[in-house]
């Protein structure tokens, strides 16, 4: 579905992301974990087109999309959410979703799509409210609904679970599973909350200091000595 080849981002001498490759299968959930500053969000930004890669390539179903601007990447079918939620504060909940449906990949039946996305995340009854009146979990769901309304094929989720309370975290994890099944989506997921990563992800990629240091099933990577030393430091 999505293939990333040796993607790099350099700022002068600093390598924020250093030749990271990954493959995301159809309807797969691939987790991307790693300590703070490992380059996870930069990797996402490059795939989503909001930052230009220094080198490397991105393919969506075989088509090269590396270096396209963000709005064009959305039209191709890759959409991201932000770690710090960014709803349009001046638009209602419905209009937020409508923006996604109107300008996304498939722009037909925008109003119906916006409604469908809001119903899926459970925000339809708040459609007339402004995002500022939602809880953090509510705004994260709105961000998710807005992304879904663009009819994506690949969803990039940047810490949609972190920061909410434990019961909401569980709800979000179930929501993500539900979304994958309802929409047949492939999902790339940055997450810090390890229990969620363990239950949600089919496979996990571990980044440290810009490099991919391990990959495998959740159980494999957490017992990998390289991963343990990346998180805890070596003895």
């Amino acid at each position: 579905m999505l293939r990333v080849e040796k993607l790099s981002k350099r700022y002068g001498g600093l390598k924020a992301v250093d030749e990271v490759s990954l493959e995301l299968g159809r309807e797969e959930i691939l987790g991307v974990i790693g300590p703070n500053g490992a380059g996870k969000t930069t990797l996402f930004s490059m795939i989503a087109g909001s930052q230009k890669p220094s080198s490397g390539a991105v393919f969506l179903e075989g088509e090269s999309i590396g270096g396209l601007p963000a709005h064009r990447v959305v039209h191709k079918g890759i959409v991201r959410t932000h770690q710090i939620v960014r709803p349009f504060a001046n638009l209602t909940v419905f209009e937020n979703a409508l923006a996604g449906a109107t300008f996304g990949r498939d722009q037909t039946h925008a109003r119906a799509k916006a409604q469908e996305a809001l119903e899926l995340v459970g925000l339809w009854n708040r459609r007339g409210d402004l995002p500022g009146s939602l809880t953090l979990a509510g705004r994260k769901k709105l961000e998710l609904a807005r992304a879904l309304a663009t009819t994506p094929r690949v969803l990039l989720l940047d810490e949609v679970i972190a920061g909410v309370n434990p019961s909401e975290a569980l709800e979000m994890a179930q929501l993500i599973k539900k979304i994958r099944e309802a929409r047949k989506l492939s999902i790339l997921l940055i997450e810090h909350v390890m229990p969620a990563v363990m239950t949600l992800c089919d496979r996990v990629l571990v980044l440290d200091a810009g490099r991919a240091i391990a990959a495998g099933t959740p159980a494999q990577v957490v017992s990998d000595p390289l991963v343990i030393s990346a998180y805890l430091g070596s003895a």
């Binding site: 959305v74 923006a99 807005r146 309304a149 663009t150």
Partner: protein, 305 residues
């Protein structure tokens, strides 16, 4: 909604019948108000909907005015077509400077527009062959034309008001509101900020240019420092800000208040009026950023409690 349409139609009819009962002074003031309301609304497409505050819209007002005046002096086109031609040139000019500068946001964009406005004024002041320099251009006065122009200005205002409403409800409006909310998040749902901002600047610039053309026809004399002065650019900002940025009724109310205020200030304090504009702008932004519309909402809420 239906009430709003009925009220607007009634106001339009009343205004259309008014010139039979007006003194020449009030007649001038009313026509000027129509043009100012229309430009305030057109400014608001960019400043209010997209959140890009332009301090350079006089450049398009002047461009539209002088192009239309030149066409009329050459007798090449009838007035309405000359105004439209002026508007198209003004819109194209807006695109030329706007396409690169609209990448800037907030105060950075605003500062760039101040530079554009002033540079355009200087070029027009020294470009004698086209603008007549500081002695300006005079258009022939046609007896009875002022009354026709009053109606034309009113019709133009009605058109711009309807366009404001249509844009707000359109795909373009949704894109602009999203861009104002968060330009990067807008890109992340597939909105090309460059395309929609360029488009709205063209429309806003063209409408402002047409207003400049009608203004030139009505007053039959234009000169660069009046058409393109910084105080003219400021006046567009003030009208929208006094009334309420981003709304439709706001700039209308703001422009009416502004025209009355300006008449009083220029009459009573000709040296001070620019300073007073500035003070007013600061006061509105500090105390009621949503202008008269915000104040109105606040009063309604208070009354309801």
């Amino acid at each position: 909604m239906k009430l709003g349409i009925a009220l607007s139609a009634a106001a339009l009819v009343a205004l259309a019948l008014l010139p039979f009962a007006l003194s020449p002074y009030t007649h001038n003031l009313m026509t000027l108000s129509f043009l100012f309301v229309a430009t305030a609304l057109a400014w608001n497409w960019l400043g209010g909907y997209a959140g890009q505050i332009s301090f350079g819209h006089a450049a398009m007002f002047g461009t539209g005015g002088f192009v239309a005046a030149r066409i009329l002096l050459a007798g090449a086109l009838p007035p309405p077509l000359a105004w439209i031609a002026g508007g198209l040139v003004a819109g194209a000019y807006a695109l030329i400077w706007g396409h690169p500068t609209l990448r800037l946001r907030g105060p950075y964009f605003s500062i760039a527009t101040i530079g554009v406005g002033e540079a355009t004024r200087l070029v027009f002041t020294y470009w004698d062959k086209f603008t007549g320099g500081s002695s300006g251009l005079s258009l022939p006065m046609v007896p009875g034309a002022k009354r026709t122009l009053y109606w034309e200005a009113l019709a133009f205002l009605a058109l711009i008001a309807v366009a404001s409403w249509a844009i707000r409800r359109s795909r373009l409006g949704l894109a602009l509101f999203a861009i104002r909310g968060d330009v990067e998040a807008a890109a992340d749902v597939g909105i090309s900020a460059t395309f929609y901002q360029d488009l709205v600047l063209f429309l806003s610039g063209a409408a402002t240019g047409i207003a400049g053309g009608i203004y030139a026809s009505y007053f039959s004399f234009i000169e660069p420092n009046d058409m393109l002065g910084f105080d003219r650019s400021i006046s567009f900002v003030l009208m929208a800000v006094i009334g309420g940025v981003g709304t439709i009724l706001g700039p209308v109310l703001g422009a009416v208040v502004f025209v009355l205020l300006r008449q009083f200030l220029i009459g009573s304090y000709p040296q001070l009026y620019l300073g007073l504009y500035g003070a007013l702008l600061i006061a509105v932004i500090l105390f009621e950023p949503l202008g008269l519309m915000g104040l109105g909402h606040r009063l309604v809420r208070r009354a309801a409690r």
